[in-house]
């Protein structure tokens, strides 16, 4: 098998394992913050509904968390197994970020997870709250380090590129690389937004089905309040990320917009609303263009210059142009959809108030929330497709080609691992949906007694 085919196998494996893995940590991040809010509300109001909410959602949390942990473990090692040349080249920065993630994020998360899940009766309420907060902080810190490392692959900075490796001269410049703030904030808010639409969508389902509707209005309310903040914020961050790509990664920018010809002075670049980009003929087969809009989007002026793919050497253009073009549009459309249902729901509250019956009188709105749940995930996955496929053919943008970063391996070895991952992850996904289905049907246990206010004394099974 040719060397290129081996590289493609490693790419396929990485794409599959990464796209699968990222489904879970986003909810870990979003849901852990939701659990912090619930527990804080419980401690403040002493309303046991919030305690029951915390116990209910933490069951989903642990299922989701487990799949995230076991599918995340291979990610830590795949850089070495399948991208050994990249690891040798970039390890002194990229590896350090993964080291920080392990030490600061995973340890914090894992070190308090047991107490958060099982420690309700074993530690004082305050210590339990602190543990939940630490788990949430650990999960978010993990996103910080990982997306920071990924941002560096998009916009490398902070050191010298030798012939065989990168030497860091300025760690702060490498960490605060041009894409970092946009990349990290866009992803972190995506996690909060997904958590918000999982909680909101599942609460809407309960209200719609008239299953403990008053109970679930409480979680729905929190989801809507969070949505009021994050859905517009995410659109703002998306715009910022897009303009960051325009400035730092012109080939990605041109590819996701199906933009071939750099606009001449005094003429605005048109924006293709829909099109079919064709790499072979170096143009779009057809397109519906809106004049000036691309200049407006990228530069916030009517005639700002936007570099087209034709001005980028063919060997430096990203592959899979229609995928990039439509993945980007789908992500943006979903971002606006989520923003839209937030606005309508807000208006609905304004008109009719929070009561469950009033929500039930607008079943279409509850259904729109339920649809928002899978859509939020799809938007996030599309975002990663844009980010990673759009970076190609580079593994480190402008510095190291993906083909130069791959491990030398027998194709049969990768064939074995890719098959194994596909089978195992199918089991993980099926198992998760079966058990999450049980959890959803069983509903919350409202008879559960909250732990006493004072420090628990009857510690089970203590040394006696």
């Amino acid at each position: 098998m040719s060397a290129n085919a081996v590289v493609d196998l490693s790419r396929a494996q990485f794409a599959f394992t990464a796209l699968f893995h990222i489904l879970w940590p986003v909810l870990t991040i979003g849901l852990s913050f939701f659990l912090v809010i619930l527990e804080a509300l419980w401690l403040k109001t002493q309303d046991s509904d919030y305690y029951h909410h915390a116990r209910f959602w933490s069951k989903l949390f642990v299922l989701n968390f487990t799949v995230g942990v076991v599918s995340g473990l291979p990610m830590e090692f795949e850089f070495g197994t399948n991208w050994a040349e990249f690891s040798r080249f970039a390890g002194s920065f990229f590896g350090a970020m993964l080291g920080f993630e392990g030490a600061m994020a995973f340890m914090l998360e894992a070190g308090f997870l047991g107490i958060m899940l099982f420690g309700w009766q074993r530690v004082p309420r305050f210590v339990h709250f602190l543990s939940t907060l630490m788990v949430a902080s650990g999960a978010s810190l993990s996103a910080l380090w990982i997306v920071m490392a990924n941002s560096w692959m998009q916009t490398p900075a902070g050191g010298t590129f030798m012939h065989d490796r990168f030497v860091v001269t300025d760690f702060w410049a490498a960490m605060l690389n041009p894409d970092m703030v946009w990349g990290v904030s866009h992803m972190w808010i995506a996690s909060i937004e997904i958590g918000c639409f999982v909680v909101g969508g599942l609460s809407a389902w309960h209200i719609l089905k008239n299953r403990s509707p008053d109970f679930f209005v409480k979680s729905f309310k929190i989801a809507l309040m969070v949505a009021i903040v994050v859905t517009p914020l995410q659109i703002y961050l998306g715009d910022g990320s897009g303009r960051s790509v325009f400035h730092t990664q012109p080939s990605k920018n041109a590819a996701i917009e199906g933009h071939w010809h750099t606009n001449s002075d005094g003429h605005g670049a048109p924006w293709a609303l829909i099109a079919w980009p064709d790499a072979a003929k170096a143009g779009n087969d057809w397109s519906v263009d809106l004049p000036y809009v691309l200049s407006l989007l990228d530069t916030h002026t009517m005639d700002g210059k936007v570099e087209g793919l034709s001005d980028i050497p063919a060997q430096n253009r990203p592959p899979a142009l229609p995928l990039l073009f439509y993945a980007f549009r789908l992500m943006v459309a979903i971002g606006f959809y989520l923003f839209g249902i937030m606005l309508i729901s807000w208006w609905h509250v304004h008109r009719k108030g929070w009561r469950a019956q009033n929500w039930q009188s607008s079943p279409w709105l509850l259904k729109a929330w339920i649809a928002g749940l899978p859509l939020a995930y799809i938007a996030m996955e599309m975002g990663w497709v844009v980010r990673e496929v759009g970076r190609q053919p580079w593994i480190i943008y402008g510095v190291l080609r993906t083909s130069q970063g791959a491990s030398v391996l027998p194709a049969s070895s990768i064939g074995f691992s890719i098959t194994g991952f596909a089978l195992l992850y199918a089991v993980l996904a099926i198992g998760f949906f079966i058990f999450a289905g049980h959890w959803l049907r069983n509903g919350p246990d409202l008879s559960m007694k909250p732990p006493p206010v004072t420090s628990p004394s009857g510690r089970k099974g203590g040394r006696t």
């Binding site: 473990l73 291979p74 690891s87 390890g91 002194s92 340890m107 089970k460």
Partner: protein
């Protein structure tokens, strides 16, 4: 000692500490998993798994820390190890995925049998692949530009199968020590009996591994059989003493000492064996010094991670303390709702 040598020594130390903590912590964890394969009583199996419920994730995190530390501080070691040991590493990852997810799915499932099997086999597979990796590390492999370029099966030899057996038995022995710690009555009694047999088997396999190691690694042969033998002899003596303590603990049925004795046995063997491989990270071509990152990285990582190490160890210890004591229910976390 110049600054780079100091930094390299420090990071070898941190990598070694992460590996040691991983081996002993996930070691007993995987060991309990292996032992679930031979338990018939579902209630017992439930209690065995419940004893791990609050710690298995934290135990596995030391492996993630090890990966990150190697990747940052010794990128060439990270790359050579993982590329060179592709198949056993993938087998280990698959096994860890299986056991981790079976752990939680079993809890939610009405059909425990399938997840029991997945959990047990995953634990066994992880222990065996780690043993294969150990054997391959001792034997070393030829590299070209850091890469192994032959057919990919160098890690599968009679010697690595022996180390796989040794590690599996040793993990199971730590598992019985943990169960003695966490259980009472008939379950504890059974763990005492299993542990005694496992101790004999582990010591026999370990002695065989140690006896054969010099003939599989010329560097170690020179160290152990030459004028430099003293520190390694001392480590071996300490391991023998640890084995005797463990034996005494099993015969006298001292609750804490089977686990602590086994921990000591693992620690002394680990230091002796891993210490012998130094200065090689991947024998015979890649040394730690050659593989280290530039001083800027080593220093930056030191500033970021050194202050966290005691904190990490503290809160991990705190979590163990919160869940100390005997497991008396198959409910994860100790069955709080029964209160």
């Amino acid at each position: 000692m110049n600054i780079q040598n100091f930094l390299i020594a420090f990071w070898i130390g941190v990598a070694g500490l992460s590996l040691l903590l991983y081996v002993v912590l996930d070691g007993f964890d995987l060991g309990v998993g292996i032992l679930t394969l031979v338990v018939r009583d579902e209630e017992w199996r439930g209690k065995m798994m419940a004893s791990l419920s609050s710690v298995w994730d934290a135990n596995e995190t030391w492996l993630i820390l090890l990966g990150g530390v190697l990747f940052g501080a010794f990128p060439r070691v990270y790359a050579a190890l993982l590329q060179g040991l592709y198949l056993p590493v993938i087998l280990m990852l698959f096994s860890l995925i299986m056991r981790g997810v079976a752990f939680e799915f079993r809890h939610s499932s009405q059909r425990k049998l399938i997840w029991n099997i997945v959990f047990g086999l995953g634990s066994l597979g992880a222990a065996m692949s780690q043993g294969l990796i150990l054997g391959a590390m001792i034997q070393g492999w030829p590299t070209f530009g850091g890469n192994y370029i032959n057919n990919g099966w160098h890690w599968l030899t009679p010697f690595s199968l022996l180390t796989a057996l040794g590690v599996t038995l040793g993990y199971a022995l730590m598992g019985t020590g943990w169960l003695i710690f966490k259980t009472t009555g008939l379950m504890q009694d059974s763990a005492y009996r299993q542990g005694l047999m496992l101790l004999a088997a582990t010591v026999a396999a370990g002695a065989l591994v140690l006896g054969l190691t010099p003939s599989y690694n010329a560097h170690i042969a020179a160290l152990w059989l030459g004028a430099t033998a003293l520190p390694y002899g001392a480590a071996a003596a300490a391991a023998v003493i640890a084995a005797l303590i463990t034996l005494w603990a099993y015969l006298k049925r001292r609750e804490y000492w089977p686990f602590l004795g086994t921990l000591l046995l693992f620690t002394t063997s680990f230091i002796g064996l891993v210490g012998s491989l130094y200065p090689y990270a991947v024998f015979p071509a890649i040394t730690w010094t050659d593989a280290a990152s530039a001083p800027s990285t080593l220093l930056f990582m030191l500033a970021g991670i050194l202050p966290l190490l005691p904190i990490m160890i503290f809160y991990n210890g705190y979590q163990y303390m919160v869940f100390r004591g005997k497991v008396d229910s198959a409910e994860y976390g100790g069955g709080e709702e029964a209160e």
